[in-house]
Symmetry: C2
Subunit: 506 residues, 2 copies
């Protein structure tokens, strides 16, 4: 789409945003477990692995784990782990590492006291206020990715906001990678379903960064989510991806999908133990294949709604398990990942309070990565254009909350207080005038008009205002600089691979 004509008219003041920034948490993490409880859960996880084991459906994975001393039942595809072996393997994983971006100013660190906000990844549908919920197209996906580039608060693209249903399933990932690597200069997550898709991502990322595989190994730039098939199972495409990522020096974010009462025990401690067992088992695979491989302890533990059997998200149980998961990850020396979730079907109060519950649990727990931090709706089935804006606002508010209060004579402002008479006001003091432009978080989305003004301007609720904001942002989008030869090389790679895939699938 040729939007160049708009660029000259761009007024940066139209959408208030915070600058792109590293998010660090200066406060002590909230801990919902004491040390003994953390140990009990880790011990439970080790017992699960030594007594029940985990099924690895891929023969190669079983072979690798057997070589490290695991006991393998080939008929059942089950692998049983000694606790010492598991702990030794987990200890090989780094507690923090970098993730490169095409723009070095957008390079990330995963771990320490930093938190990365990643945009929504994986939904089947997209939605916006005008066109409702629907299967999305590649053009719409590109618009979504442009917004992810525009929104400074988002550190990382989440691996494809939704499926581009107008493209063939076999090669859709190539179009996604091309969009990620040309429309954004931020880091993007990979779509790691199987070995070939993972290799395509590695190859294309190397082209985009202008480096070879050796350099990429030294400075990883690719992370993919590896979902176990809870309880206690890893399928073949996921095994392939873990092995390919580990051997290439790239990152697996290992995330069981454990809904208490369904894929895991109805109890939170049982769910946490099972989650930990599955993560440690997959970590053992990665570390055996490539010692020192970077992994992330990914939590997506929530509960089912016991009335309906549907997933329940952004619940108190979700929040507590996010907090607990961060503690367990720290105990194991791994970076932690949580999510921003809601089951709401529209951008309403529920979508906000479930997301806030998710985000507060994540941030107070010091999660290092929050997946789906912006845009997720409808239990993850939909990426919403308006929810993307709502979440970005909530994330910006969180980041300002993590900015410490300054306390010094200038800030305590006794002189300013002395100049204002009792019952007077500080609007026009020198102290106020010197600071008011930057003193407070300048909201992007909130409406503070009085009721009469608000009604006169059309009684716009948050979703309606968010709709106007993403449209404005899309007009403001500027494609980040990219070397012409690099972009052509990426296009050529995609064209070549599409021909290969077409030949394979004939």
């Amino acid at each position: 789409m040729a939007r160049a004509g708009h660029r000259k008219k761009r007024n940066p003041a139209t959408v208030h945003q915070l600058p792109f920034q590293t998010v660090e948490n200066p406060y002590t993490p909230v801990e919902v477990l004491d040390e003994e409880q953390v140990e009990k859960i880790v011990d439970g996880a080790l017992k699960i692995l030594s007594e029940q084991g985990m099924r690895f459906m891929q023969a190669e994975s079983r072979k690798i784990l057997a070589s490290a001393g695991a006991r393998v039942d080939e008929t059942e595809q089950m692998v049983l782990f000694d606790r010492d072996m598991v702990l030794e393997k987990v200890a090989l994983a780094p507690s923090s590492f970098g993730l490169g971006a095409r723009n070095p100013a957008h390079d990330l660190i995963v771990g320490t006291n930093k938190t990365i906000f990643s945009s929504v990844g994986g939904p089947a549908f997209c939605s916006d206020l005008e066109n409702g919920r629907r299967a999305g197209t590649y053009d719409e996906l590109c618009d979504y990715l442009k917004l992810v580039q525009c929104l400074n608060i988002i550190h990382q693209e989440g691996g494809g906001a939704f499926e581009a249903m107008d493209l063939p399933a076999e090669s859709r990932h190539l179009d996604l990678y091309l969009a990620q690597l040309t429309l954004l200069d931020k880091n993007s997550q990979a779509y790691a379903l199987g070995r070939e898709r993972t290799i395509d991502c590695i190859e294309m990322t190397a082209i985009a960064l202008g480096c070879d595989r050796t350099e990429l190994r030294k400075n990883p730039a690719i992370m993919a989510v590896i979902n176990t098939n809870s309880p206690r199972q890893l399928d073949i495409p996921m095994s392939e991806a873990v092995l390919e990522l580990a051997r290439s020096g790239q990152v697996s974010c290992i995330t069981p999908f454990t809904l208490a009462g369904s894929m895991s025990p109805v109890t939170l401690a049982g769910t946490l133990a099972q989650q930990t067992a599955e993560i440690m088992a997959v970590t053992a695979l990665a570390e055996t294949a490539a010692p020192g491989a970077a992994v992330v302890y990914g939590s997506f533990s929530s509960n089912v709604d016991m009335q309906s059997g549907e997933p329940a998200l952004g619940t108190p149980e979700f929040t507590k398990m996010a907090l607990a998961s961060c503690q367990i990850a720290r105990r194991l020396g791994l970076p932690s990942r949580t999510s921003n979730t809601t089951t709401s079907n529209c951008v309403d109060a529920q979508s906000a309070y479930e997301s806030e519950m998710s985000l507060w649990g994540s941030l107070m727990g010091h999660a290092n990565l929050i997946n789906h931090a912006a845009g997720w709706l409808e239990g993850g089935l939909t990426a919403s254009f308006e929810k993307l804006i709502l979440d970005a606002e909530m994330l910006q508010m969180m980041v300002k909350t993590l900015e410490p209060i300054k306390v010094n004579d200038d800030e305590i402002a006794l002189d300013a207080i002395a100049t204002v008479e009792p019952g007077g006001h500080h609007f026009l003091t020198e102290h106020t005038l010197a600071r008011y432009e930057t003193a407070f978080y300048p909201t992007m989305l909130s409406d503070r008009k009085n009721f009469e003004d608000w009604r006169e301007k059309g009684s716009q609720d948050t979703a309606v205002r968010a709709n106007a904001i993403w449209k404005k942002l899309l007009l403001e989008y500027e494609k980040p600089a990219i070397d012409v030869a690099t972009e052509e090389a990426l296009q050529q790679y995609v064209a070549k691979r599409k021909l290969e895939i077409a030949a394979q699938t004939k």
Copy 2:
């Protein structure tokens, strides 16, 4: 309204609620200030009081403070305090105390690690989805109070949800007290504008509790919010209320309304110092008039929107000042009060995320009392029927988040995990079936239907569902038991006082 006919048909399952319960916070408070910073702010507050002072418009207050050694400028009505005197007076206030209710099961403790949720108090308007925002009537106020009684998560009525505009202003408080003391058996806050209104509350509470003033002094049952006219000023009605409450053994919740950049410096540290100064000054008055008087350190610090000059609420600055205020209150040995606020004009996503910001700051800071915890909308100008339900849901979720995770063999559930094969599910295990009914928070308001079901059932958003819930609850309302003679005595008191007031105002 005669709803007796409905009572027999009542189905308690229609609205899922948690039981009435004491809320305790088992986690370590989040601290945004280090010890040195807290000391600097308290020191700043003491400097404000010794160098600039506070204006007490009431002559009696100045006389009382002079008797305690304060320096008084009668022309300017200014009172200057020595720091030692202030600290000695503040040290006389108890760090915790009880607040009685008509139903002893609803008695409250203010302080320790407990948190009280109080319903909205003070708005000019009411609103609901059908009739919009409007001046409310006494009948509507009674409906609102019935809902406050019904909602178990609310510990305390907040002092009148909105003004009953169909009643005369001079005697409206009597009708409010009658409603509070007969429609509810929970503790209610007083409407403490001036001496007479405060005395009326004390007298009527004594009648309702069947006790005399001596007993009431021993077991306080009345708390009123005392707002300073920031900066550094206390008006006559508020002085009268503080003195009457202190001398009667009742409680002042001293709360400056300090919007950074308007009623206080544009800096957070300056706002906190001024807030602390004003609270300590009013505390010194209460403790001089009645040593040992119970007071609460009330924070309502937020910021103005520097673009519009309107209040900005539920902001990152609000959240941080709530957290900091709880720290300062603990340093001074006083219970702390915060609020649940939003500037939104409707029950939308903004109303939820600003309230969540307020509530998380309050709860993670260990606030002992959250005023306006349920029902507040539109910067406090409106009490909303739907927001009441939305907030009650959010409070319930918070309370469940504060419930510690149990970790023991039964909860880690290794046996249950062993019975479920890899890739299987836990729906029907014995372990699940024995626990599923109580394992998770049973939502009152959230919708977890899949998109198609949700659309088919009318695409109801949170506000629409909240509307249905308050109507159901109102049908379920049962007037709590009250002795006939007590109710008659209350009615007679109101009738007598109305005649007196009518005579005065002729």
